[in-house]
Symmetry: C2
Subunit: 417 residues, 2 copies
């Protein structure tokens, strides 16, 4: 991607400091394969946050937390009581996580604050960097937990009772680490901007340097079960079978056609295939698989849902099978506030970096924050779109470009001069 | 099926005796759900054989076994040294087996002998009923073991060393039960006719009373593996995926088209589906499934194999996936001797029962015996084609018709008058 640089960094930020801090943070919980392992509410996660607090405090920020351990580093504004401009993301990682997922948004926010310091800029409203607790949901299986509780979407007591594989609860660990503070949930925020690696290949493939994220795709997870009749693979003629595998291939073909009809944003992912009985010479009695459908427009997602349901029923019926469809997850699309998106876009335009509007395919803390405050996100490409992987990789120039755009947007929204 | 009777039984056999013996044998190892559990080389299997020996001895037969425990009940002919006409099948069952699979062929053979006695007929050559050891292969996992060793296809020592789940070997049980005798393997047999329930729905659906079996389908079992790239279901555009599920549905569609192109005898059964990782929001890295292809003509089976291989490679390639195809079983088609098949057909014609030539989709002891002696089989319909199931069912009239046809064929081939 280095070859795609269209403009040198404008030096409003300190790209070397940013990169060096990314590399220093990656040493906390570093894995042998070059990634990071700072699972939520672990000692490594605490060490990472302590390092961030050290840097933020040195940059003049005050530190506070809320009852679910979300951490807020605040740089005062001219009006110290005004609702702050918030940036941020998370410092926890997957067990074999990369160096940039989440971390980049937190340290990018810190770099904005330090650059404001460097330029002697006092903003109208405070500028805050949020470190959300347990975004990954790998150790404690509730992703975006901190932002979810903060935004009022999740219940604190319920979240505190979630256990890890060793039986420790979120509450146990919050108490042990002394992370629970008194910042009120959903405290006033004027705008929230989350900087993140794309975790997908769209920007890289298009050669685009910065993505202006307009929202997050809605998604529905289904479990589809097809029930046929287990007959002997030899004596049973093809036309006398009730074979769920014959329904399966028609359903899959139809599901991918639905996605193609709503290109480029629709997604259809079939996975978790299994069948019974485990016998090569018996027509399967049942086949089960998961289906993940996504689209940024709820009306389209509803249409995809309806077409898929008709398709499953028809294909199953055509082959004498019964079908059932369970819904395991139904997350509506998130549309970010246009004013906040536009501010990011103006900043991107002023940098002359190539940029395009993009929809996030994955969930982020911004999804929950968007329920409380005008929100947008900034994406930068990452190598091969790879994430949740120790090989996750970005170039220093790419990292700098995203923070440049964040800096400009923050300056506008926080009222700096 | 009773309504499909086109002719009353000609009374060459004793239908009531036949049925009563089938019901008596079903009491040995009877299951609560109405089936039988006489797994190979168990005490129940031994009890079933003892009951058969009692009946056969009372009918004037001499009893002998070979080293793998195959049991032969022989009625002498005018020439006691001539190669006998052999009938038979097996008395062992699946753990939740039915009352007729195998048993019907053994007791049908015994009924032929008793009817010859009733009519005072002395045949030119001896008439023999074989009870083959461990046809099912459920307790000791080698199906058609007895006939396989007898025919020289399997090695006795190897077979004796096969263990059940408790670590007991075939050899242990043969010795414990004292089943091993001195009849030479592949002893001369003039013709072999195996009477069996169809275990499929073809005759029942056609309303045909008797099937003249011309051979057994060839089969090939494959394990097909498709390897893609595990990408996030949200951010990864459809056209940038390497999704093995997209290859899967094209392969399945193509495989069923291959079967349709070679209707009515071709069979294609895809089963044992599994995929990794077990995650609903990740494009599968790999999908594996089994494929069972069958056809009675080796040239056609070869063509099906070639088309399937091309199809898998093309579909995988089209979606950026790697594919591999393992062969787990390759059993060539068996073509029974036309003279033996014709004798059965003449007998069926003389009874005026509706009959048709049919290919067996499943393997039987007759497959191995066919390597040693001219062989054919007779099928009768069974309810819904159901077998390997406690609910396996036939009507007494159906049972009688099959034995009538067997009787006529035996009379011709053994030279009775």
């Amino acid at each position: 991607m280095s070859s795609a640089v269209t403009q040198t960094v404008t030096n409003q930020i300190d790209a070397e400091r940013l990169w060096s801090r990314l590399m220093d943070m990656a040493k906390v919980g570093a894995t042998a394969a070059g990634g990071s392992n700072r699972q939520a509410l672990s000692d490594d996660d605490a060490d990472g946050r302590a390092l961030f607090v050290e840097w933020a405090t040195a940059a003049g920020c005050t530190i506070a937390t809320d009852a679910v351990g979300n951490l807020f580093a605040r740089r005062p504004g001219k009006d110290p009581d005004a609702a702050p401009l918030m940036m941020g993301s998370h410092l926890d990682t997957q067990p074999t996580g990369g160096r940039f997922d989440g971390v980049y948004g937190v340290l990018g926010g810190l770099e904005v604050i330090e650059s404001l310091n460097d330029h002697g800029i006092e903003t109208e409203v405070p500028v805050e960097v949020a470190v959300w607790t347990n975004e990954e949901g790998s150790r404690f299986a509730r992703s975006m937990m901190g932002s979810g509780v903060w935004a009022g979407v999740m219940d604190l007591d319920e979240v505190r009772s979630i256990t890890d594989v060793n039986g420790l609860t979120v509450g146990d660990e919050l108490d042990r680490l002394d992370w629970a503070g008194d910042v009120p949930f959903a405290h006033p925020v004027s705008n929230y901007i989350e900087l993140h690696i794309e975790q997908g290949p769209i920007l890289e493939n298009a050669g685009t340097e910065v993505g202006i994220v307009t929202g997050v795709q809605g998604l529905r997870w289904y479990t589809i079960n097809l029930e046929g009749f287990p007959a002997h693979a030899g004596p049973t003629p093809m036309d006398l079978r009730k074979d769920p595998a014959r329904a399966l291939h028609e359903i899959l073909a139809g599901v991918y056609a639905i996605a193609d009809d709503h290109a480029p944003w629709a997604r259809a992912t079939a996975a978790m295939f299994r069948s019974d009985p485990v016998s090569p010479n018996t027509v399967p009695q049942s086949i089960t698989f998961s289906l993940d459908l996504r689209h940024p427009d709820k009306a389209v997602l509803d249409e995809m849902d309806a077409r898929m349901r008709a398709l499953v029923a028809e294909a199953a019926g055509r082959h004498g099978c019964e079908s059932s469809i369970g819904v395991d997850n139904d997350s509506p699309p998130i549309n970010f506030a246009e004013a906040c998106v536009s501010a990011v876009e103006r900043s991107a335009r002023s940098t002359n970096y190539s940029h395009e509007r993009i929809v996030s395919g994955a969930g982020h803390d911004a999804c929950y924050v968007a329920a409380v405050a005008p929100t947008s996100m900034i994406f930068i490409p990452c190598e091969d779109g790879l994430s949740h992987n120790e090989a996750e990789s970005i170039e220093p120039d790419q990292a700098a470009r995203g923070v440049e755009v964040l800096y400009g947007a923050a300056l506008e929204l926080a009222g700096g001069s």
